[in-house]
C-alpha cells in the first residue's frame, strides 16, 4: 500500500503549473487535495512519474461573486465551500451537496477542482455542476477556455481536459426568482459513495410552469450524467400536471450503462435512481413554488 516513486513539483501559480504540465506530458499528474488520487497511488492504479502539487498556487483558491456567477477557484476545499455564506446564499445546491461528500476529514483536503477533474461517476459535485449548468474554466499553453459542464465529462474518469490543461475555476450561475434545488442520494453508510443519487435544479415562471430544469445523476452510469430528455419533457409544462414518479423513471431510462457491483445490481440501482430523482424533484419544486 505504498505509492511508487515519483518526482514532486510545487509550482507557485497556474502559469507555472501549466508550463510544467506542458513539459512533462503524459507522465505528469496534478495533485490538489489528493483525497482520490492518493488512494489510487497507494493501490498503484495510477503510477505517474511526476506529481504537480497545487498547494502553493494561492490564486487558485477562493470564492468570488462576479456578473451573475459565483466563481470558485479549483483548489477551494470542500470544507471552505461548506462554511461559505456566499455559497449557501448564491448556489444553495452546492452547499447542500457538500456535506454528503466523504467525511469532514476528507472535506478538509478535498477540492472542487479535484472532484470535477477526477470525474468519478458516483461523486456529488459533477452531478451538481451538470444540474446547474456550471462552466468550467481551463488553462493551457494555448490560453484559457470555458467548457460547459455538459461537455466536460467524456468517459469513465475522463474529461474534456487535455494533458497539458489545468482546471482553474468553476463558475456557477446565481439563480434568483422562483428557483428550487435539491440533492438526494442513497448510500449504505453516511460518507460512502452513493448507490445512486440525483441533483435537481428547477425554475418556475409566474404561471407555475417549468421555465428551466436541470437534473444531474450520479452512480447511474460510467460517467456523471445529465438527464436531458427528462429535463426537456418537463420544461414548459405546468408543474401541477407533472408526475414526479414519471420524472424519476424517465431520468433513469436515459442511462445506457447502469453499473452493477457488490453493493447493488443494475436493476436495483435503476430503482433507487428513479426514487432519488423523484424525491429530489418534489423537494426542488416545492422550494421553487414557495420562493
Amino acid at each position: 500500500m505504498k505509492p511508487a516513486a515519483f518526482d514532486y513539483h510545487a509550482p507557485a501559480d497556474a502559469a507555472e503549473a501549466v508550463a510544467l504540465l506542458s513539459g512533462l506530458g503524459e507522465d505528469a499528474k496534478i495533485i490538489a487535495g489528493g483525497q482520490s488520487l492518493v488512494p489510487m497511488l497507494a493501490l498503484r492504479l495510477a503510477v505517474p512519474e511526476h506529481l504537480v502539487d497545487l498547494r502553493r498556487a494561492d490564486g487558485l483558491r477562493g470564492i468570488e461573486r462576479r456578473d451573475g456567477v459565483l466563481r470558485i477557484g479549483a483548489c477551494t476545499t470542500q470544507a471552505m465551500i461548506e462554511r461559505s455564506a456566499e455559497v449557501a446564499r448564491d448556489v444553495p445546491l452546492l452547499a447542500r451537496a457538500t456535506p454528503l461528500i466523504g467525511h469532514f476529514q476528507i472535506r478538509n483536503r478535498g477540492t472542487i477542482g479535484g472532484s470535477l477533474a477526477h470525474a468519478d461517476a458516483a461523486a456529488e459535485y459533477p452531478a451538481v455542476a451538470l444540474a446547474l449548468g456550471a462552466r468550467i474554466q481551463a488553462r493551457s499553453p494555448r490560453g484559457e477556455r470555458t467548457v460547459p459542464a455538459d461537455r466536460f465529462f467524456t468517459g469513465m474518469w475522463t474529461t474534456e481536459l487535455a494533458e497539458d490543461e489545468l482546471l482553474t475555476a468553476v463558475d456557477f450561475p446565481v439563480r434568483d426568482g422562483r428557483a428550487g434545488f435539491a440533492i438526494e442520494e442513497f448510500a449504505r453508510r453516511g460518507g460512502d459513495f452513493a448507490i445512486a443519487g440525483a441533483a435537481v435544479a428547477v425554475e418556475l415562471d409566474g404561471d407555475d410552469r417549468v421555465r428551466r430544469c436541470g437534473i444531474g445523476l450520479f452512480g447511474l452510469g460510467s460517467t456523471p450524467l445529465r438527464a436531458a430528455a427528462a429535463e426537456a419533457s418537463v420544461t414548459g409544462a405546468a408543474v401541477a400536471g407533472i408526475d414526479a414518479d414519471e420524472v424519476g423513471r424517465a431520468a433513469v431510462a436515459e442511462s445506457g450503462s447502469v453499473p452493477a457491483d457488490l453493493h447493488a445490481s443494475a436493476d436495483h440501482r435503476r430503482h433507487v435512481g428513479a426514487v432519488v430523482v423523484t424525491r429530489a424533484w418534489r423537494r426542488a419544486v416545492q422550494e421553487a413554488a414557495h420562493a
Binding site: 505504498k2 515519483f6 518526482d7 483525497q35 488512494p39 467525511h103 476529514q105 476528507i106 460518507g191
Partner: protein
C-alpha cells in the same frame, strides 16, 4: 527521483528532514519522528486510524505526502495530553466511558473528536454520529465512543458555563 528537504512543527517541535516525495505524512511521523501513536490501518483513506491535525484541521495522514506538509503545523496523539501527562478532556472521557478496547483506532478518534468539539462544542447526537463516521472501530463498538464524546462535550460545556457565572 530526488528527495526533498522539509521542515515542519510536530507537537510544537520543529523538525527538518530530507525525504522521498512518496513518503506519506503518516510514515514520516512514525518512522522519521518515532511518533508511533499515529496508527496505519487501511492506508487508503477509509479507516481514519491515522488522523492527525494539519494546521489545526483533522486530516488522514495516509492521504498527505510529507512534502505537502512542508512548513505546516502537525499535532499527533502524542501532542494531545498536557506536558505533565494529564489526559485531555477527550482522552479522559474515552478512558472513563469505555471508549476503547484494543486501542488501535483510538488515536484517530481522539484527534477527530478534538477537532469536532473545538468547532462544535455542543453537538447533537446526530452531529456526533456524523462526526464519528470517518473513523472505524472494529472491537469496542460505537456506543462507548458516543458516550465518551457526549461526556467530553459536557465537560467543555460545563467549563464554559462555569466561566460565565457571575462572580
Amino acid at each position: 527521483m530526488p528527495d526533498a528537504d522539509i521542515r515542519m512543527r510536530v507537537n510544537g517541535v520543529t523538525r527538518r528532514a530530507t525525504v522521498p516525495p512518496r513518503l506519506t505524512l503518516a510514515d514520516y511521523l512514525r518512522e522519521h519522528c518515532g511518533l508511533t501513536g499515529t496508527h496505519l490501518g487501511c492506508e487508503h483513506g477509509v479507516c481514519g486510524a491515522c488522523t492527525v491535525l494539519l494546521d489545526g484541521e483533522a486530516v488522514r495522514a495516509c492521504l498527505v505526502f510529507a512534502v505537502q506538509a512542508d512548513d505546516a503545523d502537525v499535532t499527533t496523539v502524542e501532542g494531545i495530553a498536557a506536558p505533565d501527562g494529564e489526559l485531555s478532556p477527550v482522552q479522559a472521557a474515552f478512558r472513563d466511558n469505555h471508549g476503547l478496547q484494543c486501542g488501535f483506532c483510538t488515536p484517530g478518534f481522539v484527534l477527530s473528536v478534538t477537532a469536532l468539539l473545538r468547532d462544535n462544542p455542543d453537538p447533537t447526537d446526530e452531529e456526533i454520529r456524523e462526526g464519528l463516521s470517518g473513523n472505524l472501530c472494529r472491537c469496542t463498538g460505537y456506543q462507548g465512543i458516543l458516550k465518551a464524546v457526549r461526556a467530553a462535550a459536557g465537560t467543555a460545556a460545563g467549563g464554559a458555563a462555569a466561566a460565565e457565572e457571575p462572580r
